[in-house]
């Protein structure tokens, strides 16, 4: 049985919709992972011990267990305690938190790399510690760590395929559905791979634009 890619265009609309879902899930969890990462980093470095340790434990749990398991837990497990989330919401939360923990590590390193003089410069003007962190330290830390955070974003895009197993019809699940109709796994997995790759190209292009735009302000 030979390969026949002519079946793929018939599913163009479905694949496009699947790609858009993948992009939407990626963007939503990227926002959570970015701001969550900042929040976790600030708490880990500046928070009072009472909150710092629980948050660290939370980070260890999210880093040390499989993302797939976390998705199952959030989607299937939380129902038992009365939290019934739609699959795509569960997926976004799972991906977002998982990558927030990774981003937090990077941002912490970025914060520690900000020159001590920045803190002094801000405090001598009369800014409070919190104002200094918010307006001076974090913006600079984030600028220095945009490249590694961008790498995490690429990883997040790829790992978003995992949410297909909790029934979110993003790109991977869409191609699986097409396969179950046509019995053409090779063609549709390749098609999905191409879609991921194209989305990735767009992502990397945007990341490079961001990096060059912040170059002067570092």
């Amino acid at each position: 049985m030979g390969l026949d890619f002519s079946v793929v265009p018939e599913y163009f609309d479905e694949l496009l919709l699947g790609s858009l879902w993948t992009i939407a899930i990626m963007l939503a969890s990227a926002v959570i992972s970015f701001f969550g990462g900042i929040l976790l980093a600030v708490i880990a470095l500046y928070g009072p011990a009472l909150v710092r340790y629980p948050f660290r434990a939370f980070s260890f749990v999210f880093m040390g267990t499989p993302l797939l398991l976390q998705l199952f837990l959030i989607y299937f497990g939380l129902i038992q305690i009365g939290i019934d989330l739609p699959a795509f919401v569960a997926g976004i939360i799972g991906l977002g938190l998982h990558f927030a923990v990774y981003n937090s590590d990077i941002i912490q390193a970025g914060i520690m790399a900000v020159d001590k003089g920045q803190h002094e410069g801000a405090r001598t003007l009369g800014l409070s510690k919190l104002q200094t962190i918010r307006k001076i330290i974090v913006p600079q830390a984030v600028r220095t760590v945009i490249p590694p955070i961008g790498n995490n974003l690429v990883a997040l895009l790829k790992d978003s395929a995992l949410v297909s197993v909790i029934g979110v019809t993003e790109l991977t699940l869409t191609s699986q559905l097409a396969i179950s109709n046509t019995f053409r796994p090779f063609e549709f997995y390749v098609a999905a791979a191409v879609c991921y790759y194209v989305i990735n190209l767009g992502l990397e292009y945007s990341l490079r634009r961001v990096e060059s735009r912040i170059q002067v302000s570092r």
Binding site: E120, G121, T124, L125, G126, K135, S217, R218
Partner: protein, 254 residues
Amino acid sequence: MTKEQPFIDVRHAQKKFGALEVLKDINLQVEKGQIVAIIGPSGSGKSTLLRAINDLDPLTSGEIWLEDKQVNKDLPHRQYEKHINTVRQEIGMVFQHFNLFPHLTVRQNITLAPKMLKDISDDEANQLVEEQLAKVGLSERIDFYPSQLSGGQKQRVAIARALAMKPKVMLFDEATSALDPELVEEVNLVMKSLAAEHMTMIIVTHEMTFAESVCDRVIFMDEGVVVEEGPPDVIFKNPQNERTKNFLRKHLNG
């Protein structure tokens, strides 16, 4: 006290880093409008003393007063934070390494603190930044980022940023030490113009000629104590103490 309280009053300042005593019972009074230079070898405690005045390096014991307010007041943590943030608005500080905010433009560097702390309108902020930049001669650099400025320009922006808070006193911590020699003069000129406006200034410096030409009083510190102090022509031309003489011999010829 019979005399009126001095503008800035450092009383029995002591600072220890572990077993090392960096400041040993320092007393220093500065009057309003006075310009004081602190000189001395490195490690003498002059920067530590300056940084204690706005509590950037808190004293181990002793008191710092600005007019009728004690800077390093003994308060519970939260109250103290509030107190020191208000006091610091009145004390401008300029650092050796400028400490400009690299992610903000010159305009934003200057307006950030006034906007956040003084509740001024955008119009007032713009007026403020134009006024301060004109003072340091950098009006045309208003929308540049620090990375696009020379060292001398950075330091002038840093001075403008401090002045924008309308401080009562300006502290200079070796403001020209990190600059290329040809850039020192432009910063010195700005400081001289401040002197002409009778801004109260405390200047930690290695530049004896500048100290001599601008300051009303010179303080020579060594090993955590004030060894000798007086008007510049006395300290520089006719120092009494052996340690002052030695220090000046090295620095005036060098």
